[in-house]
Amino acid sequence: MPIKQTGLSRRDALKLTAFAGLAGVAMVYPGRRAFAGLKETTLLVTEGRITIDGDSFPAITMGGGVPGPTLYWREGEEVLVQVENRLSEPTSIHWHGLLLEGVMDGAPGFNAYSAIAPGESFTYRIKLRQSGTYWYHSHSGGQEQRGMYGAIVIAPATPDPVKADRDHVLLLSDHTADHPDHILRKLKVSEGYYNRGKRTLSDLSADIGRDGLAAAWKDRQDWGDMRMDPTDLADVTGYRFLVNGKGIGDNWTALFKPGERLRLRIINGSAMSIFDVAIPGLAMIVVAADGQNVLPVKVDEFRIGVGETYDVIVLPTEDRAYTLMAEPIDRSGYARATLAPREGMQGEIPPLRPRTLLTMADMGMHGDHGSMDHSTMDHGAMDHSSMDHAAMGHAMPMTPAAQEGSPRGWEQAGTPPGKRALRYADLKSFTRNPDAAAPTTEIALRLTGIMERYIWTLNGHKFDHGDPIRVRYGERVRLRFINTTMMAHPMHLHGMFFELENGQTDRMPRKHVVIVPPGKEASVVLTANEPGDWPLHCHLLFHMNAGMMTRFIVDPPAPAARS
């Protein structure tokens, strides 16, 4: 049954913002002088329920729902958010991507902020210094997985360079009835517990048929030597994938009139799932990444890591429904939304693409593994038509087997021939980078872990078992992420944007999350101009909770520098 959902038009959003602004003026904040631009919101955090495709599950709700309410704010405003914890455990809310004072960042154990005790409340106060698409979520235990996430849209103080007739938020997430504590325990005690795509005997015979006995055998041996599994793309399966808290059958729908410019603000608020996003039949013009404007780049699909956001413009001209597909990289299901001129419509759902197999290159091995040379495979020649479309109704589809014709290598999304997938190298900051100085410090951060034990670490240390990263205020720093593991890690820094060294010279995109593919490196630079004790972590929830986090400490400016 389609859910009634009216996307806010740009005009509505403006009206709302203006109204809320007025409300802020009218409201008297105890003990403080009310002034223009002060805006107050209350968020009640409580045990509640979420209904997905007719099935009801326990969840943690913020403001009564999952996701929490979308917070429409305006750059320059000072916002107050009073969070009341009605849970029986401590909670917290982190403002993902926002520049703010450390204590307002909402990560317990950092910046002298501590979790909100049961029955207590905390008022966050943030002077908005930016615009764009962001989100908020719990930073306590596994609460985010249980439903504590919501979107933030901050309108710019100056006219928005991105013109659109309508504006929709699409918050992607992954839902499971399994409690996050149980998931982490199962991952710890039973490696591969959730992997339903392990290589079997029939895979071996298929590989022998294709690559020959010697090559197939050597491939098995190479993986066996490392005690790793090339089908290991996602740690957790059994998820239902949601758009704005809605399942495949709920069919969350964004409305448009043919010929309109739609701005879609796509946020990956899932716990563990990296998605490939496409709208078959519609090109997407990427206009912002992680809330920051980029020079428009036209693509057919993009991969979105956990914690990342992309704003895209689409221009549907036909009077028909389009399907937005978000497929997790292990292809264990999909999330969909519909763009339609009217309620109750739905577009065609394309078949899931085959899942990729990891290769020795994903392990950081670049030797001449004879059997591994699939990188030159012609993916365009893959035959998608032979897949079973009929089985793809509202039921969970079978995970396409990673066998014959599977793409090889983490970065292969199985992009259809002639279609273009966004690469990080395509992202160019809309404005030139303000600080052109070369980094004076380079910090190497190895992303490390022991898959077999589900121990995840940075530089070989679990959180607070190793030394924090410490930089001086104002220092220009290069951070090199060196992924020594076979999983991709979306690395997130609180409190500051970094500039992604993606080959652009003075237009490096400003981001707060960078996906570091398995066995690869990524480097970012930043000017350490936000003093604080900031979390730097992998945004895969269970990697962070297993220890893949460190402190990025920016010492406050010396008194002399202040004057």
Partner: protein, 237 residues
């Protein structure tokens, strides 16, 4: 007997359940535990059936754990072997734990207490290895090497080859064990994972006493060679 053992297992499960698997303050330090009944099986043998088990469990953190292991068998209502180990286990390598502790053989009688040390972990090619050396209260030195692996035929149908070798540095009269390689056990079990935690299986278990141990067994009227069809359950929680 089978029933009693299942009851005992359930009781152990009930004891273990109240332990929370919740993350402690901070990230990365949590208490974890697991109990695995790797083999709980009926070994069919021309009217001389026996019931055997092999289990292990642990509680602790990522690095150090308390680990318990038990194995034994029962035939004709008599417990022939009952061995329990309590070990301190510490991670010494990505894939290996060093373990040290006590092994108590409650049966056969007289009971024997051993000091036990060893390494347990995952060898290349996904071989699960448990290598242990024992020093008994009588000064006898023995050793055991246990290797098994899982070969998925499908996502749910798993073939598990298993091999075990027992060694003794000297003759151990109490257990009719001769010096040298005393016994070899080979097993092949095919299980169907209804869920990951619960899998019935069928298989073959072959036990062969060797060298002096075989001669001692023969002299005692026992067949040193024992091949059995087995049916059993593998489960963990």
């Amino acid at each position: 007997m089978m029933k009693r053992m299942i009851k005992a297992t359930l009781a152990m499960a009930a004891l273990a359940l109240p332990l929370p698997a919740t993350a402690m303050e901070g990230h990365g330090d949590m208490l974890i535990w697991q109990f695995t009944m790797d083999q709980l099986e009926q070994r069919w043998h021309q009217g001389q059936d026996s019931t055997a088990w092999k289990s292990n469990g642990f509680i602790g953190g990522d690095v150090s754990k308390l680990r318990l292991k038990s194995e034994g068998d029962v035939s004709d209502g008599t417990v022939e072997h009952l061995e329990v180990q309590a070990l301190y286990s510490v991670m010494v390598h990505d894939f290996w734990d060093f373990q040290a502790g006590i092994r108590q053989d409650f049966r056969p009688q007289p009971q024997t207490t051993h000091l036990a040390i060893g390494f347990q972990g995952l060898a290349p090619q996904f071989l699960e290895v448990d290598a242990q050396a024992f020093l008994s209260q009588r000064g006898d030195v023995t050793a055991r090497l246990d290797v098994e692996t899982d070969l998925p035929l499908t996502q749910k149908l798993i073939l598990q080859p298993h091999a075990e070798v027992e060694l003794a540095a000297q003759k151990v009269p109490e257990t009719e064990t001769g010096a040298g390689v005393s016994e070899m056990k080979l097993g092949l079990r095919l299980r169907y994972e209804l869920v990951k935690e619960f899998a019935p299986y069928i298989g073959l278990a072959w036990e062969r006493k060797l060298g002096e141990t075989a001669r001692l067994a023969k002299a005692d009227g026992h067949d040193p060679d024992d091949l059995r069809f087995v049916t059993g359950l593998r489960f963990w929680f």
